[in-house]
Symmetry: C2
Subunit: 454 residues, 2 copies
């Protein structure tokens, strides 16, 4: 495989241009107006998998957006690695904060700027190119399967059914996912834990219609004031979530585990500086690294109600809304936490308003063992290409399908991502380093080789 | 004047059609995109004042939207009544809650549905038609002046300068305004008090950009959660506003005054039923009538931040915003309260966020004496046309210019409005009863007559 770096160098312009084509497709799964574009992205992926030399390429229908499947079985005696990724992306708003349009990729300072560049188009596409390269050179060391879905950003709603209905097709020895970050370009890391998610939407109704705040203000419960008061009550002054039972299933880490987690390279000062905040803030008694990886949290992701246009309107609105999500840690269950949230939220509502609670989507938290064959293979591969042994790291985000794969397919996942926390995924100006993109293409072949060698 | 009712009946279709034409103009002063329409409404008003037979009709420029002026001086020895109104309207959103488009007026169940129908186009236009009728019949008993402005819904920002620069032109004995409500069509009332207003906008900034709530959630202050917590702190569990010094200048009413205020016809049960709320809510120790007229309040009029589209986005946003207004009662001062708000709001902000506070507009609270010559004239006029003596009533809304007129012109205002609290002003489906529109046209001539007779 010594030739790989040279070959990547020869092909890198084509790789980048292909990724740019994919990034031009606004495959926002959350917004109905982009439906055709999401399907177009699936088409694009399937075409590229065919071009890469894979077999049995198929755009598999689900009740939602399709899953693109492909495989290359070279020898049934060899191990099979299933590569998972997603071709859908987050909504791009607030659009006005992008310095270049989200679906018109530009390269600046060695990074590709576009919605989905890091999450996850740039990352899964590394696998397509790595396997293409191995097939072209006749170097593929094992069987590979691809499962690239289109609903990750909306909770992978139909993936469970797809996996259950296609167990034979998806049978494999390990699942390889690049949808996470490394600590820095010179500090490679492998994600060994992910938080779960419960995502709720709440609606608080006061009067049956918008009212004049002068005529009614002071006598009629204002749903915005009420919602704010209810949200304020969800977290206490120590940063603890107040929902009854919220922490019941959380397993507290041992001192040794906490020490290990806190030993990864991290500068609180740089973190604050990079975010332009004068202080971090969170659950009392925990460090920033712990707060973002080993502790559950609650964040309002969106709020709206009343008059939000220019100028002033003296309205006492009928309704106020919020999107509220909770990050969960191992042993917490998304469904249970969602129910606890709803119960608590209804309980704290004053009599003067009506409350509606909707469940958006959830995902279970996971811990990935770092003493496994696949972890060892990823560690060796990264050490080979980065020249430095990667650090095991718990991530704060959620990839709900990891728990699903383990449950349905009985297979472990290895989370070998190449992004950076500063890639602004889910934010304006998302970007992905060309260094990271090419480093991924270079590393993946070694993972397959070392995993096959066992 | 015994002929008036008959003449109104003969002309009523024309009156209504003219009002409908005026209501078709979306003169929303708060939204820059309607700028041309606001100017068009000023043109319309001036044309109708000319057609009504008034002299010296002029569209007077200000630094904002113009003031339409007109006069009819029949005898300098007779008193002069200055009629004030506004041709601008509130924004129409939320548009989706209108049952018919806000600027395509429809008549349903005896009411004209359109933005501005009651506030204030339908109300000031009664005066144009009443004076037209009196001039046509040679019955005008006194001098009249019109001052119809275009910035009432955005705080009459430039009216102060206009009044100061045109004191001679505007000289008068009394100001007559129809921009308030009667208790019911069979319970006429005259407004003897209005609350003032301080309208603020706040911006809370956490991190310098939108973040992924999984990667950063738990360690970085979420500006929405923070804003909610700050808003929650503005009102305590007894419904008191917690801003330091907020109540300092409030004059507590005597028991006799409170009894008088609470003696106006009012059914708490019907009020709740009409709003579909199971309970009212407000400052402890006060009735609904007191809470909406004699007590200061604080309401969030709008809130926004993070992802507010369809579906779910796991963002920890950089910023959150709210529009917050306070209704003030006599002796409170708008500017002082705005400053107290800002000071307090900054003081309760945690170190983890940055806060920006903007002043939108304000207005001073007023009390209109009910023992004056003009009150007596309005009382007699309403008794004549409604067949029932009107009740003095304190209103909850704000007409900031009343205090301005008194200060600059040294003239009192009489608030003889004909709307209803249920007209849904500032709300979707604003409407104005044709009964009320015609009753106003009928009553105004008697006011002018009785006031002149003194």
């Amino acid at each position: 495989m010594d030739n790989i770096q040279k070959l990547i160098h020869q092909n890198q312009d084509r790789y980048i241009n292909e990724l740019i084509e994919l990034l031009k497709i606004p495959s926002v799964s959350a917004e109905p107006k982009y439906k055709e574009d999401v399907l177009k992205a699936a088409e694009f992926v399937s075409e590229k998998l065919v071009a890469a030399g894979l077999d049995a390429v198929e755009i598999c229908s689900t009740k939602g957006f399709p899953v693109v499947y492909a495989e290359k079985i070279i020898d049934s005696q060899l191990p099979t690695v299933l590569i998972y990724g997603h071709y859908d992306v987050q909504p791009a708003d607030p659009i006005e904060l992008w310095t270049s349009p989200p679906f018109e990729p530009v390269i600046k300072d060695g990074k590709i700027y576009a919605r989905g560049s890091a999450d996850d188009k740039g990352q899964f596409y590394m696998h397509v190119k790595a396997v293409e390269l191995l097939l072209a050179e006749n170097l593929l060391p094992c069987n590979v399967k691809f499962m690239i879905e289109g609903e990750e950003e909306v909770g992978s709603e139909h993936l469970g059914d797809f996996v259950r209905e296609n167990k034979a097709k998806l049978s494999c020895d390990v699942i390889l996912v690049s949808d996470t970050a490394i600590i820095a370009n010179d500090i490679p890391s492998i994600t060994v834990g992910l938080r779960g998610l419960s995502y709720m939407e709440v609606e608080v109704t006061g009067p049956n219609r918008d009212l004049h705040s002068g005529v009614y203000g002071g006598a009629v419960a204002n749903p915005i004031n009420t919602l704010c008061k209810m949200i304020a009550q969800l977290i206490d002054d120590n940063g603890h979530v107040t929902i009854d039972g919220f922490y019941d299933d959380v397993i507290n880490l041992s001192e040794a585990e906490r020490q290990a987690i806190n030993s990864i390279p991290f500068s609180e000062e740089e973190y604050r500086k990079e975010l332009n905040i004068s202080t971090t803030q969170g659950e009392k008694g925990y460090t920033t690294i712990e707060r973002t990886s080993t502790r559950p949290t609650l964040d309002v992701n969106g709020i709206w109600g009343g008059y939000i246009g220019e100028g002033a309107k003296t309205v006492l609105p009928s309704k106020a809304f919020a999107k509220i999500s909770m990050r969960l840690v191992p042993n917490q269950q998304s469904e249970k936490i969602s129910q606890l949230f709803e119960k608590h939220f209804r309980a704290i509502a004053p009599e003067s308003v009506k409350v509606k609670v909707t469940y958006h989507h959830g995902g279970e938290p996971v811990v990935v063992p770092s003493d496994s064959k696949e972890y060892a293979a990823a560690e060796r591969a990264m050490e080979k290409t980065f020249g430095k042994k990667p650090v095991p790291q718990r991530g704060g985000g959620s990839i709900p399908i990891v728990a699903l794969f383990e449950e349905e397919l009985g297979v472990k996942t290895v989370l070998m991502g190449f992004g950076l926390d500063t890639d602004d995924i889910h934010s304006p100006n998302e970007h992905y380093g060309i260094f990271n993109f090419l480093k991924g293409i270079e590393t993946i072949p070694y993972f397959l080789k070392y995993y096959t060698e066992g």
